[in-house]
Each structure stands twice: as structure tokens, then as C-alpha cells.
């Protein structure tokens, strides 16, 4: 395998995996998405000529598109509760963010994750999810409100 590909893979595979997990909360789906995203990078080798930050953004964009396809699958599956086998933290831990996020609609999950965990600003998120800045602001604001409501209900 190409050295640059291996370097990029090693550097970003967990970032892509976490982004997928923050949306699906399923290890299996996240692993599938990870594989699809890096396969696309492997067959589009010219992306490897970009700088690391640009490559990461490209990977995130591809990942978000893959997650949109997954969206239909997830809607059918009707996840109502977290499955012990699918989450990473203590299932019974009351303040686990996974317990709150699972009740947040899918469209708010990516913007919230990219903003709070990855630290991207609104402009960057709008490019990553291919939505206008005002749409991103709205999703972040509503997502945050819903998340707070979930946390308050849990008190």
C-alpha cells in the first residue's frame, strides 16, 4: 500500500470512525462507513496530494455523505435505546452524552459533533455538510436546546 495512504489512514481513521459513531451509535455501521470512506480515498489517490487538513475535511465530507445513505437504514431500524454492545461508555452512567444524543434527531448530530468535539466553526461546518451557514446555525441552536432539555429531564 501507498506510504502516504497509510500515513493518512493511521492519522485519521479514528476521527472518521468517531464522526460516524456520533451519528449512528452503532459500532458495526461506523466500521462499515469507515471502510467505505477510506476505500474511496484509496481509489482517488490524487486527494493524497492535498495537505493534511484538507484531506481530513475531504474524508469528513465523504463520511457525511455515506452517513446520509445510512440515514434511511437507521430510520427503518428505529433505535429507541442504546444497546450495551454498541456503546463505549458505561451504559448505566447517568450523564453519558450518548444517552442524550440518541434522542436527538439525526440532522442535528453531525453539526453538534463537528462543533463541540472537532472544534470547527460554522463556516467550516457549512462546507462539510453542504448546507448554508444560517442552516448550520439553526441546527446547532436547535440541537443544543434539545440536548439541554434531555439533560435537564435526566436530572
Amino acid at each position: 500500500m501507498n506510504n502516504k495512504f497509510e500515513y493518512v489512514f493511521k492519522k485519521y481513521y479514528m476521527d472518521v470512525y468517531k464522526l460516524a459513531y456520533s451519528y449512528s451509535f452503532s459500532k458495526e455501521d461506523s466500521e462499515d462507513t469507515l471502510q467505505k470512506v477510506f476505500y474511496k480515498l484509496y481509489v482517488n489517490k490524487k486527494i493524497l496530494d492535498l495537505n493534511d487538513n484538507e484531506i481530513k475535511k475531504w474524508l469528513f465530507r465523504v463520511c457525511i455523505n455515506e452517513l446520509r445513505d445510512l440515514n434511511r437504514k437507521l430510520k427503518k431500524r428505529e433505535i429507541s435505546e442504546l444497546d450495551e454492545n454498541t456503546i463505549y461508555t458505561d451504559f448505566n452512567k447517568s450523564d453519558s452524552i450518548f444517552n442524550y444524543l440518541i434522542n436527538i434527531p439525526l440532522i442535528y448530530r453531525n453539526p453538534l459533533y463537528l462543533y463541540y468535539y472537532e472544534g470547527y466553526d460554522i463556516k467550516e461546518i457549512s462546507k462539510l455538510i453542504n448546507k448554508s451557514e444560517s442552516a448550520v446555525k439553526m441546527r446547532l441552536s436547535r440541537g443544543k436546546d434539545l440536548l439541554k432539555k434531555e439533560m435537564e429531564n435526566d436530572k
Partner: protein
């Protein structure tokens, strides 16, 4: 209570590669990529075999293919040849002669075929009158008809022979609406000529019309799925086309009507054909 950012950090930082994600993903990519390469090779081989076969067949049967394409191209063709400012409209029949039943007894015109504007009367003993159905049976051919008048009779206008074989036959319906007896000026006069060049004919073309460039217009006749030409005159329109090796010319005279009425009549006629 932790703020949202802290919660995200504390929870997602804990996610680690606890399931051989690294190896599994690289393994998946290598497997899928090698499968893709194999498929590409198979497609490439199939395409190469197909192209080689196609080239081979084209070389071996070049002559037959050319002839087939040529005959297909020539079928139902009517062509205009440019000659200075004039166009010479003729059907291409040198390779498109039609075989007809020669064991027939058609009544050839016995006197001058000039019968003035009205054309021959149905009782004119100089001519033989036939319905299209009769002709189809006698000559073993198929003729186009117009829904506007299925019963119109045609006369044998001209017949050429060579060694007791018909080389060409020209039939004419002097007025497809059969108005010649009534002088009905509300109905336009439409003359239909049918040109049949048999397999004993050696000429290159049998119908001709000389017209100025701007008067010739190519048309597509939907009802017959064929191309044709309209030659636009001041008081008339001529429609030329060939269907199944038989050439047809319809001449529409205005009888004092406007050009718009003429064009409407052309349109009506073109849509009335059936085969």
C-alpha cells in the same frame, strides 16, 4: 453538571480501536481493490475480444455490409440534385426496381392522353380504369392509399414495354376527390401519379421536377415513415416521395384558393396516407 463541550470530550475521547479497526479496514480495502482490478481485467478482456471479433467480421464481410447499408440507405429514397440554381428532383431507382407480375393484360392508352384540365372521363374508352385494390392484386404490389378517398380509380397513363415485358408503368388519378364531373371549386384538385419502374427498366430515374432552390422543401411523412420533398409553386404544391420502390407525386392545384389553404391541404393529405 458538565457543559456540552466537556461531555463530548470526555465521552468521545474514550472511544478507542478495540476491535482491530485498523487491520480490518486495511484488509477490506485491499480485498475490494484487488477484486475491482480482477473485474477490470475481465471487462478489458471481453471488450478486446468483442472489438477484435467486430473488426474481423467487418473485414471478412466488408462488401456485404456495404451493400446492405447501401440498400438500406437507398430504400425509399428520393433525391434532389443541385444543378446551378435549379434542383432536379428524382427518385433513385437504378438499384431499386420492383418486380411485378408480368402476366397481366392492362389496357394501354389507345389515344392521346391529353384530356385537358378535367382529365379523362370514367367512360373514356381510351383508358383503362383500375381501383388500387385491383392493381395490387394484378401486379402483386402494395400501394399507398389516402383515407380521404379510398375508392378513387386510377387510369393507366403510360406503359413502356421491352420484349413483351413492362419496364415501367405510370398510373394517374386525375382527381383523387372525384370532382372532375362536378366542377366543385370548393374542393382543391389533387392529381396523384404513381410511377412503377420494373426490374426490366434500365433507366436511372423516372420522375423529375425542376425547381428553384428556395421552392424545394424536404419533409418527413410520419404516416409512411419516409422522407419526401415538396416543390412549392405559385398556385400549386407537388409532393414527391417513394414507398417500397414505388414513386408517388401528388400535385395540388389551388383552384383560386389562397396559399394558406394550399398548405393546409398538403398537411391534410400527408396525414391521410396509409400503407
Amino acid at each position: 453538571m458538565k457543559n456540552i463541550k466537556e461531555l463530548y470530550k470526555s465521552e468521545f475521547d474514550q472511544i478507542e480501536d478495540d476491535n482491530n479497526l485498523y487491520e480490518n479496514t486495511l484488509h477490506y480495502i485491499e480485498g475490494k481493490y484487488s477484486k475491482r482490478r480482477k473485474l477490470e481485467k475481465i471487462y478489458l478482456s471481453i471488450c478486446s475480444v468483442f472489438i477484435i471479433t467486430l473488426v474481423g467480421v467487418s473485414i471478412v464481410y466488408a462488401q456485404e455490409i456495404t451493400e446492405t447499408l447501401k440498400s438500406f440507405y437507398l430504400k425509399n429514397e428520393i433525391r434532389i440534385n443541385e444543378d446551378g440554381d435549379k434542383f432536379n428532383v428524382s427518385n433513385i431507382i437504378n438499384e431499386e426496381h420492383i418486380e411485378i407480375n408480368q402476366n397481366i393484360d392492362l389496357k394501354s392508352p389507345e389515344c392521346s392522353n391529353k384530356r385537358g384540365y378535367k382529365g379523362p372521363d370514367i367512360n373514356d374508352s381510351c383508358f383503362g380504369f383500375y381501383s388500387k385494390d385491383e392493381l395490387e392484386k394484378m401486379l402483386n404490389i402494395k400501394l399507398i392509399k389516402s383515407k380521404l378517398n379510398k375508392k378513387s380509380k386510377v387510369v393507366l397513363w403510360d406503359a413502356k414495354n421491352n420484349n413483351d415485358k413492362y419496364t415501367s408503368l405510370t398510373f394517374r388519378s386525375y382527381d383523387i376527390y372525384n370532382t372532375f364531373e362536378e366542377e366543385d371549386t370548393k374542393v382543391p384538385k389533387v392529381v396523384e401519379d404513381i410511377f412503377i419502374s420494373t426490374n426490366y427498366d434500365t433507366r436511372d430515374g423516372i420522375i423529375q421536377s425542376f425547381a428553384d432552390k428556395e421552392m424545394v422543401k424536404e419533409i418527413y411523412i410520419d404516416s409512411l415513415n419516409t422522407n419526401g420533398f415538396i416543390v412549392e409553386g405559385e398556385k400549386s404544391r407537388k409532393i414527391f416521395f417513394v414507398v417500397n420502390k414505388i414513386a408517388y407525386v401528388f400535385t395540388i392545384n389551388s383552384r383560386g384558393r389562397s396559399v394558406d389553404d394550399l398548405d393546409e391541404e398538403v398537411n391534410k393529405l400527408i396525414h391521410s396516407f396509409e400503407y
